[in-house]
Symmetry: C2
DNA sequence: GTAGGTGCAAACCTTTTGCAGCATG
DNA sequence: CATGCTGCAAAAGGTTTGCACCTAC
């Protein structure tokens, strides 16, 4: 799906739900859809400010909350008190592996994994709305470089 | 395993790794091991202060970091910027289902699920240290009572 | 005796909020 | 033209840190 098309979907959704479509929101949505990488609120703010220096941090947070609520964006705890967001619209569902040495996030997907979760949920009479699976560990390159003291804290 | 026994294990591990075994640490470890519930750093501080009012918040955080690093305790993001800890020593690993209506946390475990994760990790050359699987949805009782508006926000 | 640990308070960082003014529908 | 949105700056909340003192080994 093309970015303009995606942006259109967001716009319509917001309008339909009684939100206004402001310049700031268009800008923020555009910036958020522009990448398929994970980004922090602050990084998004920076990107927005490259296009219009007047965007405020508060507006970014407020818009991000709206987008998350609407399901266009998904927030992930980084484990150090912050969050990273990810553009979800038009993406396949996937899970995450987080390298505890370098902080890199890898995505993966396994149908069987999903199936077993459904099963476990059914056993408890639970209806799944969403789930979050995160695997923490060492990625390949950090493992091969593990002879030295490591690089904990390199990520952020 | 008995609490005293568990505490002994922690003590030995810390000593072996060049940490000192102070009164505060004994106190904090005792308090942390005393419950199998999830607790915040602040709740732990309260519990410690019931035994000795002089324990400082900083020491609780510092000790919690040591315990987490050593694998005796596990931290879970609460999604609102905070963390909850869970006493892990001598416990079976389990995952969590969180009811988005009533906030109840259900624990479950599925060996096959773990196996698939190992597999997925291996494919990426990733070595797992730990993982966190959380399934969000409606629990059985909230599903049968779903005719009304629900009770979102009950949890925390 | 000397690291390492502790307590305090201040610093930090990300996120949220109050408020007055602005712009959209 | 009413309401929702924005920007600013300040507040909030959880966590970390600098520093002087203390204590386990």
């Amino acid at each position: 799906m093309k970015p303009e098309q995606e942006q259109r979907i967001v716009e319509e959704h917001l309008r339909k739900n009684g939100f206004r479509w402001t310049n700031q929101r268009a800008l923020i949505v555009r910036s958020a859809l522009a990448t398929h990488e994970h980004f922090t609120a602050d990084e998004l703010l920076d990107r927005c400010r490259q296009l219009d220096a007047r965007v405020s941090r508060a507006t970014v947070y407020r818009t991000l909350a709206v987008l998350e609520e609407a399901g266009f964006v998904e927030g992930l705890d980084t484990g150090d008190g912050g969050r990273k967001f990810e553009h979800v619209l038009g993406h396949e569902h996937h899970d995450h592996m987080v390298c505890t040495a370098c902080g890199t996030i890898f995505e993966f997907h396994d149908v069987e994994l999903e199936r077993r979760q459904e099963l476990a949920a059914r056993r408890l009479g639970f209806r799944i709305e969403r789930h979050s699976l995160r695997i923490y560990g060492r990625c390949q390159s950090c493992r091969s470089a593990r002879k030295n003291g490591g690089s904990r804290g390199a990520a952020k």
